[in-house]
């Protein structure tokens, strides 16, 4: 049981709570820069400098917004940004005092939904039909990837015997920070692979980027976003990206201090980017079928192996 009386207001904890979302956003934007550079190299061109996303965001916030679609639109964007920030507070990093001891996986999995929901809220009140279609697709996709991802997480929980992410992380590091033999990627490999495939959907990378498919629905949920709203969307995307990758690293790749988790996240992201750049986009129903077939079956098998061994 969580005893809230134990929660002491600590300057360091407060500072780290403030620091984490900022760090996550900055790293997320850097990742985006790396992605653009990487895709440029595959396209046989130079590509933009790594700091390009930062300039983009500053420019977007400097633009005059000549439109709004009411308070839900304004609030949805802020709610979107709050989701991944909250999620990051509950992910344990070695030696960083945050709220990880006071929450467990259930809390995190719920906070995961807040961000996309907020953005969907904002996009849905926008006047563009493409935005609404994008929202419908994004929420649909959420159903698609949540199931295999949850099952994969469940396999980890069953193996670890606890829902506390701090304990899961500590368990993986018991053989040493650099020794992968206790990582859940090695202990429950089948479920981990399923989770990895679902992660592609969680991040909205191809082949699961139906929500923002530019050639089909404009750019989907982003159609009506411009200026400051798009800037917020960018920050949300960056923060969400880092939070999701960090969660996966802590769950399956051993976690560790913040810098190590960042490196692991970068490794995961480069793999995801390579798939994104060279792979096509499925139709929504095909993507569903794919997500509910292979990763789900794999995750179930992984769960079975854990439960019956």
């Amino acid at each position: 049981m969580i005893n809230l009386n134990n929660f002491q207001i600590n300057v360091w904890a407060a500072l780290s709570l403030l620091f984490l979302p900022i760090y996550g956003t900055a790293i997320g934007l850097l990742f985006m820069g790396i992605f653009r550079r990487l895709s440029a190299r595959i396209h046989q061109r130079y590509g933009p400098p790594l700091w390009q996303p930062y300039a983009d965001v500053i420019k977007l916030f400097s633009k005059k917004s000549n439109f709004s679609h009411g308070w839900v639109y304004d609030l949805g964007v802020i709610m979107g940004l709050a989701g991944p920030a909250l999620m990051l507070w509950f992910i344990p990093f070695n030696g960083l005092p945050n709220m990880a001891p006071y929450g467990d996986l259930i809390v995190i999995l719920y906070t995961m939904v807040i961000g996309p929901l907020g953005m969907a809220l904002a996009a849905a009140v926008g006047a563009s039909p493409w935005g609404v279609l994008g929202v419908a697709r994004a929420l649909g996709m959420m159903f698609g990837y949540e199931l295999p991802f949850m099952l994969a997480v469940l396999a980890v929980v069953a193996k670890a015997g606890t829902l506390r992410l701090t304990e899961i992380a500590a368990m993986q590091q018991s053989a040493g920070l650099w020794n992968p033999s206790n990582w859940f990627y090695a202990l429950v490999p089948v479920a981990a692979v399923a989770g990895h495939i679902a992660l592609q959907g969680v991040m909205g990378e191809k082949p699961f980027d139906q929500a923002i498919a530019p050639h089909e629905i404009g750019t989907g949920i982003m159609t009506e976003f411009g200026g400051k709203y798009l800037g917020m969307m960018f920050l949300f995307a960056a923060l969400n990206l880092f939070a999701e990758l960090a969660l996966f690293s802590v769950l399956f790749l051993g976690g560790g201090p913040l810098w190590l988790v960042t490196l692991k996240a970068l490794f995961l992201y480069v793999i995801a980017s390579l798939v994104d750049i060279t792979y096509g986009r499925f139709r929504p129903d095909q993507a569903f079928a794919l997500l509910w077939k292979w990763p789900t079956v794999l995750a179930l098998i992984g769960l079975m192996i854990v439960l019956f061994s």
Partner: protein, 370 residues
């Protein structure tokens, strides 16, 4: 009742990433299914046919390439052939070969761009980036030959404007080698790409009877399994003297259409190599007419050529008295593809598939709007 409650209008275009060129479709969508498609052309209507009646016969050579931007040379070729037919001008054999080489080079540039566009519709961007890079090698060749990258205005009635520069043929063959070397890359990225193949397989399947009935031409027709290629069926220029295969595919779906386009790149390279081997010597221009105030004898003729999009033709009428065409009609392949085929065949698709289907038909709106 259900229609009123559940269906809504989606406007694809004219400013939409999934539509190639300045064109629009009004879709009526019920849930995910398209129940009605209406083409909305005319965003590029410049009144070409009227303009051509107001320009002199030779001035029109500079006007016609603007009708189709991705592959302008077919316009020059068809227009010049029609005028030559009316005025009874003999074209020197070397000029005929040079024209054929240019047409085939333009075919490759157009196909590289189309394949990139079709791949980009499903999110596979590398094909587009690579194809565009390679296409530029060919544009450089054109630039050296004609002085322009896009609108060459190189063919005029009676031949071509000037002879090939020194060493151009060798350079061209080297460029073709470079492109041929990359063909497996395109193949792997396009036809071995799981997501792309799954999206295109079985999409907008056309039977041969349907295709002929709807007036579909070009690679879209050959993808249904009939070997109808104007270069073989109604041969023109130097095509009877070269050896090439008409690429066909029996599926008739989006993947087959792109496959035919892809395989024709290889055929075009083969054709150009043969032409470069056989290139005759001699003059390149036979110009028995004045540059201004030329009166072409009265008559009418329709000349069509095979472009990358389909049958491209010019129906030219001369009354023998004026210094301009009395009437010039452009038969663009996109008229039937964009309006008839899309309106009839895309009903029942999911709207997500619409851009993929549209890009697989390769519609080029300027030749429809004119």
């Amino acid at each position: 009742m259900r229609e009123e409650l559940y269906s809504y209008d989606l406007h694809m275009g004219p400013q939409h990433a999934g539509i190639h060129g300045n064109f629009a479709y009004k879709l009526k969508v019920d849930g995910e299914k398209i129940v009605e498609v209406k083409a909305v052309p005319g965003y590029l209507h410049r009144g070409f046919e009227k303009l051509m009646e107001r320009r002199q016969w030779l001035n029109n050579v500079a006007l016609v390439p603007r009708i189709c931007v991705p592959e302008p040379d077919v316009n020059e070729a068809a227009y010049c052939m029609a005028v030559e037919q009316l005025a009874n001008i003999e074209v020197p054999p070397r000029a005929v070969y040079i024209r054929t080489i240019i047409l085939e080079l333009a075919r490759i540039t157009s196909y590289l761009m189309m394949l990139g566009g079709a791949a980009a519709a499903t999110g596979v961007y590398p094909v587009m980036y690579w194809g565009m890079g390679q296409r530029d090698l060919l544009l450089d060749l054109f630039e050296e030959l004609t002085g322009a990258r896009i609108y060459h205005i190189f063919m005029i009635p009676g031949g071509v404007r000037r002879d090939l520069p020194q060493g151009w043929i060798d350079k061209m063959l080297r460029v073709l080698d470079a492109i041929e070397k990359h063909i497996p890359d395109y193949y792997n990225m396009f036809f071995e790409n799981e997501a792309l193949v799954r999206r295109m397989k079985g999409l907008v399947k056309i039977t041969p009877e349907q295709a002929v009935e709807m007036g579909i031409t070009g690679p879209n027709l050959r993808a249904t399994g009939v070997p109808y290629d104007l270069r073989k069926v109604d041969p023109y220029l130097a095509y009877p003297e070269v050896d090439f295969e008409v690429v066909t595919h029996t599926d008739g779906d989006a993947l087959a259409r792109n496959w035919v386009r892809f395989m024709e790149v290889g055929q075009s390279i083969q054709i150009i190599r043969q032409l470069a081997d056989k290139l005759p010597k001699g003059a390149v221009l036979n110009k028995p007419y004045p540059a201004i105030n030329w009166k072409v004898p009265a008559g009418s003729v329709f000349v069509h050529v095979e472009s990358t999009k389909g049958e491209y033709g010019y129906y030219i009428v001369s009354d023998g008295q004026s210094i301009a065409p009395y009437r010039a009609y452009v038969r663009g392949p996109s008229t039937t593809h964009a309006v008839i085929a899309v309106e009839k065949l895309c009903v029942g698709l999911e709207y997500a598939d619409f851009p993929v289907a549209e890009s697989s038909l390769q519609i080029c709106p300027p030749d429809l709007d004119k």
